[in-house]
Amino acid sequence: MFVTLQLATLTFFLAIVPGLLIALARRLGPRWLALPLGAMVNLVRCVPTLLTVVFIYLALPFAGITLSAFASVLLGTTFMQVVFFSEAFRGALASVGKGQFDAAYACGLRTTTVLRRVILPQAALVAAPAFASSLVLLVQNTSIASAVAVNDMIGTALNIQTNYGDPAPLVAAGIGYLVLIVPLVRLTRRWERRMAMAL
């Protein structure tokens, strides 16, 4: 459980800023930056997370980059999560009309202020449901750690199951994940309902 939480929180904090930056760059940045970023994001969305992690853990050592199992999972999930976050933010940014940018700049505000006081507060409201689902995915992805023999919840449980044939830890692990994730799912639902009503 502890490892799972570690992975989840680390991935979250590592991925959120790049995710936001990529979304901003794609919306506001020059074309030579926005287009390649867009293509990259699209490509990464086509790669199964498990494959990324396995690749980092097992194949990269041959290129001279050896990472521990934990680090591999962290890198893999963070990488994918950056992409998911950036998509959530991008959708939210796009929902803020151009007129808002116009009015804010016309008042003589600088870009940092425009983003901080006008655009992001509005985008945050819209981003909430997509963000919450990203969070759900994030915690779920931590379970991938078990595939590379890291002792997260499901990994440990699997271990015990295969070695001792005792399925009880599996159930415990299942419940553990539910406890973590169901609240997030409920939250997502509630936010989605609110968004639908506000529109």
Binding site: A59, G174, R186
Partner: protein, 223 residues
């Protein structure tokens, strides 16, 4: 470096193995998709139905399925649920059922949002013109819902395909499994790279296909 990651000779040697894996993945994907689409309809129907306990059960099912990590659910199904139900323990079946159930929940949500997307006013207008309800469904609701449903549908199918490598964990012979086996055989990382590229290709193709179908339907609708 290239010889280790992008070695064409190695790729050629293991091509049959990888092909077997790819076929395995495709089989699983199609079956799981069929199950998921069907379960989606069942759950969706339950959500629309007049019985409150059924609606409630459907909502809980969806939340549960959305909450479980794929890997965890897969493992639980294989090691726990199927044995409990005394069903034959076969990785293919376990994977198909697990993926089918999980994605089925997502499909149910997609069906629901497409259903809600059609404006109520249109249905009222059609009814006041004297059309019977099944006609209304046929001529008004389904064409529009079908269009709205396409992007999230294809998105979800992409997610399903992305989940396929997890079957590796319970020992089903799909692309990742075959790639790993090949790697051990040739002591080279090319098979894994190849597997990744194949998945990317498949998913890009799916994206493209989704786009074309959407275009096509849009044209039909506007005609």
């Amino acid at each position: 470096m290239t010889s280790h990651f992008f070695n064409l000779a190695v790729f050629w040697r293991v091509r049959l193995l990888l092909l077997q894996g790819a076929v395995g993945t495709a089989k699983l994907a199609f079956v799981a998709l069929a199950i998921a689409l069907s379960i989606g309809i069942v759950v969706f129907a339950a959500q629309l139905g007049p019985w409150r306990p059924l609606r409630w059960a459907a909502e809980w099912f969806i939340d549960l399925m959305r909450a479980f990590p794929v890997l965890v659910f897969l493992v639980l199904t294989y090691y726990l649920f199927l044995p409990l139900l005394q069903v034959r323990i076969d990785p293919f079946a376990a994977a198909a059922v697990a993926f089918g159930l999980k994605h089925g929940a997502y499909f149910a949500e997609i069906y629901r949002s497409a259903w809600l997307a059609v404006e109520r006013g249109q249905i009222q207008a059609a009814a006041s013109l004297g059309l019977r309800s099944w006609r209304i469904a046929q001529l008004v609701v389904i064409p529009q819902a079908a269009l709205v449903i396409l992007p999230p549908l294809f998105n979800q199918i992409a997610f399903l395909v992305r989940d396929m490598p997890f079957a590796f964990v319970i020992g089903y012979f799909e692309l990742l499994t075959s790639a790993r086996a090949a790697e051990v055989l040739v002591r080279n990382s090319t098979p894994l790279v190849a597997a990744i590229l194949i998945y990317i290709l498949a998913l890009l193709l799916l994206q493209w296909l989704g786009g074309r179908i959407e275009e096509f339907s849009r044209r039909r609708l506007e005609a």
